[in-house]
Amino acid sequence: MKTAERLAQAVAGGVHRIGQIAIRPRLNGHGYEICHIDDEGLSPAALDFREGPAAARTISTWAADGHYRFTKGELTLVRGWMLVLHSAEELQQALDAFYPAAAGLWFAQQDGRLEVEHLRDKLNRQTGMYRFARNLSDGGAQRLVQEVCGPGHCCVKKILWQLDATTPLEDSEASRFDGVVGEINRRQAIPLLCREACNHFVAEARKASKAEATK
């Protein structure tokens, strides 16, 4: 089944949340409406109505304080909008702009075909200016997860990777976070999954390993 069809099926089955976005079928039965979870209870008149998946990129680019949201798992999605999507395909496209690949990653996890890559594999395959990131110590890597990842920092994804196949992440808010924002039934949400450390983390790992080397 195609991703868009599975998405439609999931929404029909009660899934209504991904990250900071609430999803609901339109009352006329055609398509979907999505908005910020904190705007769910607001009168539609209070929201800026947008149409079509292309608007998702505009909405998700800047945080309210004006900074560029280059990691989409940030808890900084702006409020005040309602996006109308006319099909499951448009819903998939919009969600892939807000939370890139998140729906597909979740379906892959359900199917048992999600490939998780541990941090050492990720760092060891870096070349060029990021090659130095592989020198980061285990202790430094554990600290970095707690300094970079998790809802306290820039990301609300559920971390699936470990340092390596036998070294789990140390217990912390970042390693415990389950990828769902807010107190809702977990079965009604698409969790945001982190299958390998992102390139922002790699860039930070490079800095941290350089700092270790100069100590």
Partner: protein, 273 residues
Amino acid sequence: MSFAPKPRAALLIVGHGSTENPDSSTPYFEHADEIRSRGLFAEVHCCFWKEEPSMREAEYMIDAEEVYVVPDFISEGYFTQDVIPRELRLEGPSTRRAGKTWHYTLPVGVHPSMTALLLQRAKEVAPDARPSETTLFIVGHGTGLNQNSTKAIRDQVELIKASGAGYAEVHDAFMEEQPFIAEWDQLATTPNVVVVPFFISDGLHSYQDIPVLLGIEAEPGEAASQREVFRHNPHHLRGKTLYYSSAIGTERNIADVILDQVADFDSKLHEDR
């Protein structure tokens, strides 16, 4: 060239992206939107080196079993030859893995059809400048790190010279190697000068660094979307009339070059069979 639709295949546009500047990835999304709007592929997606989705995440967005991967880069080099094949686990022009076939095309910037886009952009930015009184500069970064990007620009300069477009002079020029774009007024002997940056996006180079080298700006400015560096043509500087274009990759018709690369890939595949 008319493009034969591929209703069962996906197109994956690969871009660099940026953690500093969202304008960097805007062209990729626009190229994807343009191709999507034409209904030529079952799916059109983007993925990035510095933004999300990453290249390794991209496959989880794709339903199709056949995927055309087009690097939206201006030249062959480190990214197209090392990083993208490594991240997408490509083993050659076509790679079969886990039920999918991945076709890897050449980057957009090396396609001969870029020449027409450069000429079109030069005409748009300086509609009143007679080519016979105008020097056209195609500008790149230029470093020892990637000779291919300077080659791509020099190739385009030769193609433009041979095109019959009628420009008095056509030059390659670079930010960090000779001939230096900072010396544009000495390199050009004509009263009019048109400068087109040979980059995919309006990143730091095209909206900050090159305007300073040209003398349009005294200091590096803000992000392109927040300012109007490209909208004040012409500039009367150093005794000449200067027209400065935004990066060639911001041209919506790059979508056609992406399709040209896919079509060329298929032609080559058929030749090899």
